[in-house]
């Protein structure tokens, strides 16, 4: 780095970033003389700004750690100086080639822009900086100071524009435009940050709400069940509790956002879960095709529920399979257990369960029920109904 012009900015002798001091140390000329020359050049044509910016860009950092010369953080001020020098240089160049709105408006605008840059550079860095550097808290007064300084620049720039009497639009419009522009320059970054903060907070709040929803749900369901299981000594009851909980949790994790009981598949799941919670039996459900519950499907579902309950109560089996298939013109259900079975011929005709709830219910709606069972070989109930459309 030192090879580039071999200019090293001064760590000790500096007003801004130590360029003049560095040049002084390098050439042996008193830095104050260099500074005066730079200021004169600045005032004369702006050349001083350009030279300064150039020297700063081309020089390397001081060999020793920079010593405090103003109570501001070095990097921030440097940035302000750099930005304004470069902008000034560009403005001067523009003025020289004639791309210029006139001194009366141009300079005040530049002044206002400088003020804005003072505020903006500060604003962008302040938060991250405050978190990293505990000392920043000590300089808490600094943002106010900066805002005031920057605001002063902006306001005086704006006032100068107004005073110049420059008019491009209808009378009265200019002061308004200038005022809005000034306010935007001063408060823009602050408003922007505020909006961003609000958005962040909102996102965080949504996340928190989701988390507490989930916590509430797990508390009401899984934790309660786990507590119940710990207090249960009966193994089969534990299994039953676990099974109901599993079904419920699965529905919550993978299922539709709301329990849609208008659909057959959801209703079958609900039925299975009800039977499992009331009886010590596992209900394995398989639904092929799905349909909205109309009259015929509801009939089939009721009969299927009754058959499943019969298996749960009388079969002694550990599980019952409930299968339902919906096709275009018919719907068919099978309920099967591998339990004790019975001889259908020996069951009295008027016995409530099968005769009334299943068979005649199906027949009333144009369906039919068929019961296949043999003692010791389990039971299967077949239910079929034509679909109403």
């Amino acid at each position: 780095m030192a090879s580039r012009l071999s200019l090293r900015r001064s760590a000790s002798n500096r007003v801004v970033v130590g360029v003049a001091g560095g040049v002084g140390e390098r050439t042996g000329i008193e830095p104050t003389i260099i500074r005066v020359a730079l200021i004169v050049l600045c005032l004369a044509s702006g050349l001083g700004f350009i030279l300064y910016a150039l020297a700063w860009a081309l020089s390397s950092g001081p060999s020793a750690a920079p010593q405090a010369r103003l109570r501001t953080t070095d990097g921030q001020l440097r940035q302000v100086i750099a930005v304004s020098s470069i902008v000034a240089g560009i403005l001067l160049a523009a003025r020289a080639v004639g791309l210029w709105v006139g001194d009366a408006v141009g300079w005040p605008l530049a002044l206002a822009a400088f003020g804005a840059s003072v505020i903006w550079v500060r604003s962008e860095r302040s938060e991250a900086h405050a978190q990293l550097d505990p000392l920043a808290a000590v300089f808490a007064v600094q943002p106010v100071l900066r805002l005031a300084t920057g605001g002063l620049f902006v306001l005086s720039g704006m006032l100068l524009v107004l005073q110049s009497g420059y008019s491009a639009g209808p009378a009265g419009a200019l002061p308004l435009v200038v005022a809005v522009l000034g306010l935007t320059l001063i408060f823009g970054p602050w408003l922007y940050r505020l909006a961003q903060q609000l958005a962040d907070e909102r996102r965080e709040r949504i996340r928190t709400e989701e988390r507490s929803d989930m916590a509430a749900h797990l508390h009401d369901s899984v934790l309660q069940t786990l507590a119940l299981i710990q207090r249960t000594t009966d193994a089969s009851e534990m299994v039953g509790l676990a099974r109901v909980q599993e079904r419920e949790l699965r529905a919550w994790l993978f299922g539709a956002p709301r329990p849609d009981l208008d659909l057959l598949s959801a209703a079958v799941e609900a039925m299975a879960s009800r039977v499992e919670s009331q009886h010590r039996i596992a209900v394995e459900t398989v639904v092929v095709g799905d349909a909205e519950i109309d009259e015929s499907i509801a009939t089939l579902l009721d009969a299927m529920t009754e058959a499943t309950l019969n298996s749960a109560k009388h079969s002694g089996a550990e599980s019952v399979s409930a299968f339902i298939e919906v096709e275009e013109s018919t719907a068919t259900a099978y309920v099967r257990d591998k339990g004790c079975g019975f001889d259908p011929r020996l069951v009295p005709e008027q016995r409530g369960g099968i005769a009334e709830s299943i068979r005649s219910r199906m027949e009333r709606h144009g369906g039919r029920a068929e019961i296949i069972s043999e003692p010791g070989k389990g039971t299967e109930v077949k239910l079929q109904i034509a679909r109403t459309d």
């Binding site: 699965r250 598949s265 398989v286 298939e325």
Partner: protein, 211 residues
């Protein structure tokens, strides 16, 4: 006869240790893994006879493991074992090359039988998988491209029995055919499930999330 070697992959360690203790007596458990990457490495190196693999796992799940290792351990067979998952996940695992799918509520004896069946090259269909298949290959009015894209009436019948909770043996006795014939029907269905290009299959699986 050397016992069938089995490898277990599941991110639920508690469940895994349960399965392990159930299978330990009858099988040679080569190892277990809790994540996709470890599983793929191990399976390629150990070449177990059968891998029991969870359908849904962080980092890709069973489908990913099967695709990773099918070439590196060509003799290994995969059986998906899982809590009842979404249809699309199950179908994806089968299409990746698993020879069957059983739910975790399966009894230890049935699970052992399923492992043997898969080892022998047969397909294992739980009632739920049979239901998925019937749903996916539902009869449609439009003509299908090839034989792979639809089930024969007999295959449909067999699938219905399995979905109703019948074992292969029970299906055979109800249809008055041999267990071998049932197995070959089921194998044919598995092949169709894996090879069919029927677009409804993917669309159906994507549309539907059966719990």
């Amino acid at each position: 006869m050397t016992p069938i070697s089995v490898y277990l992959v599941d991110d639920h360690r508690l469940f895994l240790s349960g399965v392990r203790s159930e299978l330990d007596a009858a099988f040679d458990i080569l190892g277990e893994a809790y994540d996709v990457d470890a599983a793929a490495e191990d399976i390629a190196a150990l070449k177990p006879d059968v891998v029991l693999v969870d359908v849904h796992m962080p980092g890709g799940g069973g489908e990913h493991i099967i695709r990773e290792t099918l070439r590196r351990a060509p003799t290994t067979r995969f059986l998906a074992l899982s809590v009842s998952d979404a249809a699309e996940d199950v179908i994806a695992v089968i299409r990746a090359g698993a020879r069957g799918y059983v739910t975790k509520t399966i009894s230890p004896a049935d699970l052992a039988a399923a492992v043997r069946r898969v080892h022998e090259g047969d397909a294992v269909f739980s009632p739920r998988l049979a239901g998925f298949v019937l749903d996916a290959f539902a009869l449609v009015a439009e003509p299908v491209d090839s034989e792979l894209d639809q089930l024969s009436p007999r295959e449909r019948e067999v699938m219905r029995f399995i979905a109703r909770g019948y074992s292969y043996k029970e299906v055979a006795s109800r249809l008055h055919i041999s267990v071998k014939t049932v197995e070959s029907h089921v194998g044919a269905v598995l092949r169709k499930l894996q090879l069919s290009s029927r677009h409804e299959l993917t669309r159906w699986a994507a549309d539907r999330r059966i719990v």
